[in-house]
């Protein structure tokens, strides 16, 4: 059991393994950190739902190397990301930009929340305004009859 737990915890740690190979890394730790930051925002165009930082695909590796080349050449993070967007479109960004075509994406959840809030509030208000109508005399009688019934299954 103990062994199993150790194995499990090791496996959990292994989940965060890097795709970035040591020989790809830049010598300057600050530049390397920037490269990682940029890479985490860029989608591996072949694998669709991985960042190029995580992906082992060859194109992702070449994109990582290109990011690092551009950093050493003196480009800013924004310039590098703009370059990739210029090649692959907004698709290459894992986090969609805030613009007209993505408005519904960004504001949709908020809109739903507001809509839900409005529905809840209006329902509560209506409940306050219209209390349940009192029972009619016939219903009162039916109720007392029902509560006085002791034999189960008696349908009268």
């Amino acid at each position: 059991m103990k062994r199993f737990l150790v194995l499990l915890s090791v496996l959990c740690i292994a989940g965060g393994a890097l795709a970035v190979e040591p020989k790809e890394m830049l010598k300057d730790p600050a530049q390397e950190a920037r490269a990682r930051e940029v890479s985490k925002q860029l989608r591996c165009v072949q694998c669709q739902n991985e960042t190029i930082d995580e992906s082992n695909a060859e194109i992702a590796r070449d994109m990582r190397v290109l990011v690092r080349d551009r950093i050493t050449a003196g480009d800013s993070n924004v310039q590098i990301i703009d370059y990739m967007v210029g090649r692959y479109g907004d698709y290459v960004l894992l986090k969609p930009r805030f613009m007209a075509s993505t408005l519904i994406l960004w504001l949709g959840p908020l809109l739903l929340l507001i809509l839900g809030g409005v529905v809840v509030v209006s329902r509560l208000r209506r409940g306050d305004a219209q209390p349940l109508a009192p029972l009619s005399p016939e219903e009162e009688i039916a109720l007392t009859q029902m509560t006085n019934e002791t034999t189960p299954g008696d349908t009268k």
């Binding site: 165009v45 994109m63 290109l66 990739m84 967007v85 090649r87 692959y88 479109g89 109508a133």
Partner: protein
Amino acid sequence: MSESTATPRAKRWPYILPLVVILALGGVFGKRLLDVERGRDPNLIPTVLLNTPMPSFDLPPLPARGDALRSEDLKGTVSLINVWGSWCVACLSEHPVLLEIAKSGEVQIHGIAWRDDPARSLEWLAQHGDPYSKVGQDPHSKTAIAFGVVAAPETFLVDKQGVIRYKQTGPITADDWRNKIKPLIAQLNQ
């Protein structure tokens, strides 16, 4: 009694809502499925480079096979730029069409040997035929990324001014050539 059990009309619509949502979703999914059936893959990334100048490149030739492939040299003629690799299975299925195009003499085809061992590229061309005017090597995807290439084969039709006029993602079929690319070349040559 009967009066209190009747549901007012206005209160009924929330119960129809789930049905409406499910039908709408079904419609969207159905459309996407039909798109794939008809060969319009919704996962294809539309190229943002269409009608923009091609990126500039200067790629070394395959060993002992003609000149380097330079973007500058392509100006003045309409050309097809085909991104391929000897490792690429789909390129092999496309190859007969490229050979046909080269034979027709309608347009010159240049190859970008993407992420390939030059010896293997040459061997592949010797074995399957060589439709290319020039072939440039792009071992580290620099030019492929500049063209926004996702997977080989991809082909770009470039006009005399060096502007990208058409992009084919995946193999060119005989049909694509006849109905899309050839007419476009005739138009660009006017």
